[in-house]
């Protein structure tokens, strides 16, 4: 999944990706069907029960993913062209920073619930800006602190939504 020979997003998915996605979708649908089978019926003649709609949707998804996968496996002109056509010369899309970004965001979210919005956001912003090429040790922290404070104040006073202080600090106040 982490490997893609193709160029920038939107240039068309590679055959392997379509097949993989089709299989993932089918697995999700089968799992949904498996879970839905245990849903109770409402016991009324005038109701189809909670399982009916998920079952219909999941059934159609299996058909659609089959069409997708079979469409890419059949020796059609499109597939051959695609196969013959070598991967577009790398447009320079790199997965490493995306993966780092996703993990950093996940850690950031986890830490917000722990030590609160303010410190984590400043660090997160500085880190992400550096990841993306803002190397200045003056401008970057200043921007990070500014954005963090601005959002905090807007949410607290403008929208009456206090951003989280973190469970550790809530405990410390006691």
């Amino acid at each position: 999944m982490s490997h893609s020979p193709e160029g920038a997003p939107g240039a068309g998915a590679p055959r392997s990706a379509d097949i993989a996605a089709g299989i993932i979708v089918a697995v999700v649908a089968v799992a949904a069907i498996a879970v839905s089978r245990d849903f109770p019926t409402t016991g009324l003649d005038s109701d189809v029960g909670p399982a009916r709609f998920p079952l219909i949707y999941a059934g159609i998804l299996i058909v659609l993913s089959a069409i997708l996968v079979i469409g890419r496996l059949l020796p059609t002109r499109r597939n051959q062209e695609r196969a013959a056509e070598p991967a577009q010369p790398g447009t320079g899309f790199r997965f490493a920073p995306v993966a780092i970004g996703v993990v950093a965001t996940a850690v950031y979210i986890y830490l917000i619930s722990l030590i609160g919005y303010l410190p984590t956001t400043v660090v997160f912003l500085i880190g992400m800006m550096r990841l993306m090429g803002q190397r200045s040790w003056v401008r970057t922290p200043l921007l990070a602190v500014g954005i963090t404070a601005f959002l905090y104040l807007i949410f607290l006073y403008g929208l009456q939504i206090p951003l989280p202080v973190g469970s550790l600090f809530e405990a410390a106040e006691l």
Partner: protein, 321 residues
């Protein structure tokens, strides 16, 4: 202005001192702002009552009170959060009748016993309301028709397992009739369906239909209450009609079970004074709600009674888990 402040100060003192003397250890409480958690969205009925309460309570507590909405799961998310909050009195909650309903449906981690009641604020009964064009002029007409056509009378409610569904189901249970319960996504859509004559009746509270009744579009046949509603003195209760049933939705202040007694006493005293505030009463009147103050122990009895009632009813309906 100054005199006014002094006056309210005196009132607070008078009301609070008694309880404070009992609870010398909590003389400090509250030393920082109190957070009032509302398990429903901002702008809704429960939220507005909570905000009016928080506003009026400022005069009776040395610290301010802020409202925070924690929505989701038909109230289960917010109520769970109140239950699990640190029991120090700085995070109190707006409890609703759902406290006594959700635990039986298997979608809540709390039970009614996990909360210490502080004060009930308002209570609204269920009412059987029909369209003004409906052939049913009285409760008797309605029941006679339902008896003649079992399963044909469609009663709209605010959602399966929600209070007004259970009210209609309880009426069905007590009278031995069969209704066709139609769940809607809240009381408003049910009332809209009734206005469009798509259903025969709704079981929502008088407050939710009062505008349409005043405009001559809808007619209330009976209330499922212990006594007649002051707003509709001509509408009979089902008790008068020989059905021993009353179903109320209520809202009130609750705290986690382990909250120190002294803090509970302080909040009870403050709540007692708060509900007497003109601003609070005015808000309820504007929202067509009925002030139904009940102090902690009395409120607790209501909770226990409803808890048993809904547990039995839901078991009978096959909804209990």
């Amino acid at each position: 202005m100054k005199g006014y402040r002094f006056l309210t100060g005196a009132v607070v003192g008078a009301l609070a001192s008694a309880s404070l003397m009992v609870a010398a250890t909590a003389a400090e409480y509250p030393t920082k702002p109190i957070e009032l958690t509302v398990p429903y969205a901002a702008g809704g009925g429960t939220d507005l009552v909570a905000r009016a309460y928080a506003d009026a309570a400022k005069k009776h507590l040395p610290q301010s009170m802020g409202v925070v909405n924690k929505t989701g799961g038909a109230g289960a998310v917010g109520l769970t959060e109140i239950m699990a909050a640190r029991a120090d009195g700085y995070k109190i909650g707006m409890g609703t009748v759902e406290i006594t309903m959700l635990p039986h449906m298997g979608i809540a981690r709390f039970t009614a016993d996990d909360f210490t009641p502080i004060a009930r604020l308002n209570a609204e009964p269920s009412a059987i309301t029909v369209n003004a064009d409906s052939p049913f002029k009285t409760y008797e007409d309605f029941i006679a028709n339902a008896k003649a056509n079992p399963g044909k009378v469609r009663i709209g409610n605010s959602g399966t397992g929600a209070i007004w569904h259970l009210a209609a189901a309880a009426l069905q249970d007590k009278t031995g009739l069969t209704f066709n319960h139609i769940p809607y996504d809240g009381a408003n859509p049910a009332v809209t369906a009734l206005l469009g004559n798509h259903i025969e009746a709704v079981s929502v509270s008088p407050a939710e239909v009062v505008n349409h009744v005043a405009a001559g579009k809808l007619r209330i046949l009976a209330v499922l209450a212990d006594e007649r509603s002051p707003a509709f003195p001509d509408v009979p209760t089902v008790k008068e009609k020989g059905v021993d049933l009353s179903v109320y939705t209520w809202r009130g202040i609750v705290v986690p079970k382990k909250t120190p007694q002294a803090v509970v006493e302080t909040l009870r005293a403050a709540s007692k004074a708060t509900v007497e505030e003109a601003s609070f009463k005015e808000t309820l009147t504007k929202m067509n709600l009925t002030l139904a103050y009940a102090d902690g122990p009395e409120f607790g009895k209501v909770m226990q009674k409803d808890n048993t009632f809904f547990k039995d009813l839901m078991t009978k309906l096959g909804m209990a888990k």
